[in-house]
Symmetry: C2
Subunit: 258 residues, 2 copies
């Protein structure tokens, strides 16, 4: 099931997206599926007539995982860490499909990072790997924008990975998906730049969720960005970056400077 | 004005704390003062009859500032950073007065850090230093608990500074306070360990709020922990650490292991 958050006139609503590519219909859900479950209404819109927004704005946190693809760690001259390298992005960094990535004034080197994102569905702590599926709401595409220059000079990554618009998510949450063997692709202005698979991860998605849940209590709507495959590079004003993940869909965002 | 959040029977409420030390009374406020302003009711409780909880659970983020006291930077063998060293703590790390600090299973070296905390009152971005007072709701005491062992091995500080209960806040928010010359003291089991003053900060409180607002959009209820003075040290099960800040009050928490 594909659960989207969208705007028709004013307030955001949730809905289920169904139908063939290019011809989808959204059926409105009552309230917030993270707390009320999925109860559909009779209201439907063509997907083309609604504006998708980020499928979730976490009430607590976005957790990132550094260097979870060996080839990507190597391309930046890094080792694979002994303990998964966790970092936090604030919920003010989240934007939705087609919303602009605004390059921050303090950086000249903003890089794209296509990533599979886990969306948590239940409050949990210390989840064993074989019970992870019980706490996962679903999966979406994400872009873990990173200011490479500031990442190097600051040491801690809060500014480099936490600036406003640094976490595009979408286009929707796919609730039925096995995360172990999915293609992750990233296209810069239509040109393939990242082409990985979740089967290349140093730690699998379920292993990561288990590990992250040992570090923090996870709340419904928390998002875990599971690391990017090789091929990262810098963005320039006017670019567009598209993240496509097998079984989910495409998240595309323009890049601007203000 | 001292604004506390507290529980009498079930749901948390906000109130204004007035009266002499040891004899305070809390007057209940209508709704949430971060969104509704401060409108008092006629309901009053003796402070001794209520249970204080964290005066704010941020809807977005807690931002920490590393090495903002030169003497503390030196005691851990660090330089004062060129750009303020910012890091994030999730809202799941926040607890209130007297609530236990639970040492995480993954650390053997948890340190206390007494800190003045700024509570943001208005959505803001790129705030000039001379307009910071307009966006500040008030000030509270905080303890920026840090797992020193994990801080060293992980590199990024998300786990070391973000574990559940790593951000005690309280006892209340003081809304009228000049932050430039305040004593910050920390006592371990009643013994003075930290004894600094905000006038020793590398960057003043208003400078920090301005700098942090350049990195992220700040939302009402966001908290900035402004760095700890010298004297940090490790905690053991059964300890109690008390943070006292001039003009605010005392925040005291027991330390447990589960």
């Amino acid at each position: 099931m594909r659960i989207a958050r969208f705007v028709v006139d004013n307030d955001p609503m949730y809905g289920i997206v169904e139908g063939e590519d290019g011809n989808e219909v959204v059926t409105v859900i009552k309230g917030d599926p993270f707390f009320n479950g999925v109860e559909t209404t009779t209201i439907k819109y063509p997907l083309a007539d609604v504006r998708l927004v980020a499928p979730i704005i976490p009430r607590s946190k976005v957790i990132g995982v550094g260097r979870n693809f060996a080839e990507h760690a190597r391309e930046l001259g890094n080792e694979v860490p002994v303990h998964p390298l966790l970092f936090l992005k604030p919920n003010t960094s989240v934007v939705g499909p087609n919303e602009p990535i605004v390059m921050p004034e303090f950086s000249e080197e903003v890089s794209y990072e296509a990533e599979l994102c886990v969306v948590i569905g239940r409050i949990c702590k210390d989840v064993p790997e074989d019970r992870v599926d019980e706490v996962v709401f679903g999966y979406t595409c994400g872009n873990d924008l990173t200011a490479r220059d500031v990442q190097k000079t600051d040491g801690q990554w809060a500014r480099a990975k936490g600036f406003d618009t640094s976490a595009p998510l979408g286009p929707w949450i796919e609730t039925e998906l096995d995360p172990d063997d999915l293609t992750i692709q990233g296209r810069l202005n239509g040109e393939l730049r990242q082409d990985g698979n979740t089967n290349q991860m140093v730690r699998s998605v379920r292993e990561l969720v288990s590990i992250v849940s040992q570090a923090f209590t996870l709340l419904p709507g928390d998002v875990i960005m599971t690391g990017t495959p090789a091929g990262v590079g810098l963005l320039t004003e006017g670019d567009r970056y598209e993240v496509e993940i097998e079984g989910i869909g495409r998240l595309s965002n323009p890049v601007v400077r203000r």
